[in-house]
Amino acid sequence: MTTLRPFTCDDMYKFNNVNLDPLTETYGLSFYMQYLAHWPEYFQVAESPSGEIMGYIMGKAEGIGDNWHGHVTALTVSPYFRRLGLAASLMNFLEEVSEKKRTYFVDLFVRVSNKVAINMYKNLGYIVYRTVLEYYSGDPDEDAYDMRKACSRDTDKKSVVPLTHPVRPEEVD
């Protein structure tokens, strides 16, 4: 039961119920503003019938040549609205936008410890393309999976042939 609509600045005043979750990062203001200004169509919020924020997705499109791709920067769903297919429909939305932009694939980074999310992405058709060592700084640093799903433009599914070796964060563009 969702209203999907573009994320607005004022939503940042109300997204605490989602963002206080330990796996959801709260970024500096400029970060959100940059996404809102540059890729507003990729920043969507799911609202409940009573107007609460249930979750949101933030993404972008970038890359040149056959690296032109959609990217999921943040995806999160409030604990009380999980397992309702919300994340799946937000991802679906982002993939549709990417299709319209004719990208070759969609990718994202996820903590290797975030079993729930990894499992979900797999169920949505993503594969682990490569491991990025110590991508998340913290104590200790944590590796990330770079996960990918090919779009229809990538007819040969060239973008989703997994790498055999892990890479360092510097090697990721």
Partner: protein, 940 residues
């Protein structure tokens, strides 16, 4: 050949320059300003005329707090009219940090004049106007740019600048002007159209925006349906179109579009709402045109518009039947029924034929979705379909349906979730209201046991980042304990609630709802150090400092933990000031990426943040705190006392609190969100008034300091300012007393604590300050008798103040909620006496012999000196009394009433809540005494 050579020379040149400057940038980036300055000087020694090095030196000096030196360099540099990008960028950065955005415009105006064909400089000039929101100059510079380089984006910048003149500039107050400007924008756009130049999606969006503002909905729809519409690939096309169809009241089209969307995805709530709305509009139109048959119809249900609740109901039922979408049972159609029912009943229509007893709707929904936590949030907004007796009935039927009695426990996780939902819904139905303490206690015990059982049975093997499914039991029990404390008017139950929450958090360390509640409850008892500990674990940052500031930061000053306040205040103020600076960049992003639809939003957001009441309050608190902690005259002279550089825009202040972050199942939350409750609005008004009164302290103190600093000729002006400020304060104080604001209720947890206004009126701020300021003013006259009267007045006021402190603390109950109030008042007393001590110090300065004066005046000064001494003595005496009272107060240990209650709930936690809270009081007490002692020293 030669051209290439010279180019090469140039490249070489810039490469050298760049290499030399690199270290400066690096030091600046890493925040090492001292090293940066050394490097600047080094470079300038070699190349004394290198503009960019000078600009960087100015920036460095500014960051080191050497504003005037920085300004000298900048001015000299401006006169040299630099045009190279690096220098201009560095100067821009510097002016930006100084918040002198106009100067950036002047800089680029000059540069463009010297190098008029430089596209980049023109772009910077345009952006500099964006930063100061000068829409007219924006328009001009964008057009100049377009003439230079006829690119569509530049043209669009100009058009957008015209739109802004219409909506936010001169057109905002003058409808005629607005129309004119918008028509101009339209004509400009038509030119692009006829030249067939429109290409990008953003350009079409801009066109739609113009037409929309002109009220030309027909045209918008035509655009959307035409070839331009095809360019809107990423815009949610259907939704945009619907907005306009609605404005044009084309309800039939709305209805049909909705139906076709819903047939595809039946879980779209926004579309269901529009659909049902259109049904009623159509019905209304029907009755207007006297019941013609709706005869256009195909066999396909999606092809006919529904114009009666019956037809809508049929459509909904079909959607229910068509059932699940990729495995999920969709809640959409079920909730649509509620929405339809609710719309009918608000129109006074009989719903019985269609829906039967409403309770059955709820029961059916609960049976389908009760195992999902969202069930409560889904049903909440519809509960008012039921009158009170029906709510009671629903509540007991839900509990019966779950099948858990007083003696049984859930047999599965799903049953537990259903039980939790049922309890939450029943609380929403009001079933926890008006219960006897015994009844409440029984409920609390049951829920606590359910929590413990649930954790043992279904809480194992969770990740530390998970919330346990049984956690809501503990949260509910904590809410009930708070209810109990309100009924008993005793803090015991709050302490128990905190023990329970601590237990919850040791099991589910990520449960932020538990943490938020704990912060709230610790503040309710004045336990600042524990509140801080909890708050820190929430990792509140960035914008949350504003939206969640009310929970902790805004309360800290009342806990007497001055040292801890400093960090919190500084972090908050830094966030606001640096983001306000950044926010002008955000506007430039919008132009850069052509997201014109976001501009209005960005501008509103910028104002919302800058006008935050919390921001203004923290700013004022920070200055008050500096005064309270001030230990020397030099320090006093160095404090910038005027709040927010005098720029509090009182009528624009905004309440940015996110009250919805607290879970609540109070019946009040059925109707609307806590932000919209009457109490929240009352609180806002009181908080604004509090801030006004508090700034009076600052205005008067600022004026007093100015008087002492000023020379004879200039002094009178400041004396007038002080008189004015004091008069205004007294008037405001009187008005506030007679307005007689009642403290907001405390029975609802999502509401913040009562305003600090009440404590600030109870403690004698205005009377004590007035007595001191009158005395201060009398120093400048020759009326010794009057001065003596003033001294007497001070003595009386100080006696009263000490009595007040005694009454407010040792003479009050030892219950922790009462102690919290006492603590707030004690802090206020300490504030009053320590800041008025500063006035006494200032008086001392006034009577210091500056030069030898004429006999008569001198004798008066000696007299005055004596008066000042006697006031200082009185202050010292009372501050010593304060210390004694505070010490006696802290020595009186509260008794432990809660042990039995904890025991009975199996919560005899290792963590002794009471002890920790008492520890917080002790630290606060020590800090207050420390402040007093340093002030005594200052006066000696």
């Amino acid at each position: 050949m030669s051209k290439a050579q010279s180019n090469n020379m140039h490249v070489l040149d810039t490469a050298v320059v760049e290499r030399r400057l690199r270290p400066i940038y690096d030091w600046l980036d890493s925040g090492n300003n001292k090293k940066a300055l050394q490097e600047c000087d080094k470079v300038l020694k070699k190349a004394p005329n290198l503009h960019c090095a000078k600009a960087l030196k100015a920036l460095t000096l500014h960051r080191m707090g050497k504003g005037s030196e920085s300004r000298v360099i900048l001015e000299a540099l401006t006169n040299e009219k630099p045009t190279d990008d690096a220098t201009l960028q560095a100067m821009t950065l510097c002016y930006r940090e100084m918040q002198e955005l106009e100067k950036i415009c002047r800089l680029y105006e000059t540069a463009v004049r010297i190098d008029p064909t430089n596209e980049e400089l023109h772009t910077h000039l345009f952006m500099s106007y964006v930063r100061i929101s000068d829409f007219k100059l924006q328009q001009q510079s964008a057009m100049a740019l377009y003439k230079l380089k006829p690119k569509n984006p530049y043209y669009c910048w100009a058009v957008m600048s015209i739109i802004l003149q219409a909506t936010r500039g001169e057109g905002c107050r003058d409808p005629l002007k607005r129309k004119l400007l918008l028509s101009l924008a339209e004509r400009m756009f038509d030119k692009l159209l006829t030249e067939n130049k429109i290409d990008a999606e953003q350009e079409v969006q801009l066109y739609v925006m113009i037409l929309d503002l002109l009220g030309k909905q027909e045209e918008v729809v035509a655009v959307l349906d035409g070839p331009l519409g095809a360019k809107l690939q990423c815009t949610n096309f259907g939704l945009v179109k619907m907005t306009y169809l609605k404005k044009m009241q084309r309800w039939k089209d709305v209805n049909l579009i909705c139906k076709s969307i819903l047939a595809e995805s039946a879980d779209r709530w926004d579309i269901w709402k529009e659909y049902i709305h259109s049904v009623f509009e159509l019905m209304y139109q029907q009755t207007q045109t006297s019941g013609q048959e709706n005869s256009d119809g195909g066999d396909n249900i999606v092809e006919t518009a529904d114009d009666t609740p019956e037809k809508a109901h049929e459509f909904i039922c079909r959607m229910v039947e068509s059932g699940a979408d990729n495995g999920y049972v969709l809640r959409g159609p079920f909730l649509a029924r509620f929405q339809l029912c609710s719309r009918m009943s608000s129109r006074g229509m009989d719903t019985n034929d269609l829906f039967g007893d409403e309770i059955e709707l709820f029961m059916e929904y609960f049976r389908k979705f009760g195992h999902k936590p969202c069930c409560v949030s889904d049903l909440r907004i519809f509960l008012n379909l039921l009158l009170t007796p029906k709510k009671t009935e629903l509540s007991s039927r839900l509990m019966k349906d779950v099948g858990i009695s007083a003696t049984s426990v859930p047999q599965s996780e799903a049953q537990m979730q259903r039980h939790i939902c049922a309890v939450q819904l029943s609380r929403l139905c009001g079933s926890h209201r008006d219960l006897s303490p015994e009844h409440l206690k029984a409920l609390i015990t049951a829920l606590t046991l359910h929590y413990q059982h649930g954790y043992q049975t279904y809480g194992r093997g969770l990740l530390s980042t998970d919330l346990a499914p049984c956690d809501p039991y503990a949260l509910l029990a904590a809410h009930l304990l708070y209810d109990l404390a309100q009924i008993e008017q005793k803090s015991d139950a709050v302490v128990v609630a905190l023990a329970l929450l601590e237990r919850l958090l040791s099991n589910s360390p990520s449960n932020f709802h538990g943490k938020l509640l704990a912060v709230r409850l610790y503040h309710c008892l004045g336990g600042g150090t524990k509140a801080l500990e909890m708050y820190s674990s929430l990792d509140v940052k960035h914008l949350q400092l504003d939206s969640l500031g009310y929970i902790h930061c805004a309360r800290m000053m009342t806990t007497g933990l001055f040292t801890l306040c400093t960090n919190l205040f500084d972090a908050t103020l830094k966030f606001f000031s640096s983001n306000y600076k950044d926010s002008s960049d955000h506007l430039t992003f919008s132009y850069k990426f052509g997201s014109f639809t976001k501009l209005d939003e960005f501008m509103d957001f910028r104002e919302r943040m800058n006008n935050s009441l919390h921001y203004a309050t923290v700013g004022v608190d920070r200055i008050v705190l500096k005064l309270v902690e001030c230990m020397s005259l030099d320090t006093l002279y160095s404090i910038t006392i005027s709040p927010k550089e005098d720029k509090i825009e009182w009528n624009c202040l905004r309440d940015n609190h996110d009250l919805g972050v607290f879970l609540s199942w109070d019946p009040e939350s059925i109707e609307n969100a806590p932000e919209d409750w009457q109490e929240s609005k009352a609180l806002f008004e009181q908080d604004v008034r509090f801030l006004r009164l508090r700034t009076s302290i600052l205005w008067t103190m600022a004026a007093a300091v100015d008087i002492v600093k000023s020379l004879d000729g200039d002094r009178q002006r400041h004396v007038e300012a002080l008189r004015n400020a004091l008069d205004q304060w007294k008037a405001l104080h009187q008005k506030t007393l007679s307005d007689n604001f009642p403290p907001i209720q405390q029975n609802l947890l999502p509401l913040p604590m009562p305003s600090r206004l009440h404590g600030s009126l109870a403690a004698p701020y205005c009377p004590v300050f007035s007595s001191f300021l009158d005395f201060f003013l009398s120093m400048m006259g020759n009326d010794s008798h009057h001065t003596m009267e003033c001294v007497k007045c001070i003595e009386e006021e100080l006696d009263k103040l000490t009595d007040f402190l005694r009454d407010a603390t040792i003479k009050k109950s030892n219950d922790l909620m009462a102690r919290r109030k006492s603590l707030e008042l004690a802090v206020n007393c300490v504030e009053i006496i320590s800041i008025t001590s500063l006035i006494c110090v200032l008086c001392g300065e006034l009577v210091k012999p500056v030069q030898v004066k004429k006999g008569k005046k001198k004798s008066c000064d000696t007299k005055n000196k004596e008066y000042v001494f006697s006031v200082a003595d009185k202050l010292k005496k009372e501050m010593n009394n304060f210390c004694d009272i505070l010490q006696d107060w802290i020595d009186a240990n509260p008794e432990d009433h809660v042990f039995n209650m904890l025991e009975s709930l199996n919560l005899n936690s290792t963590e002794n809540i009471l002890e920790k809270i008492h520890y917080s009081y002790k630290i606060a007490n020590r800090e207050m005494q420390l402040i007093l002692k340093t002030k005594i020293k200052l006066l000696t």
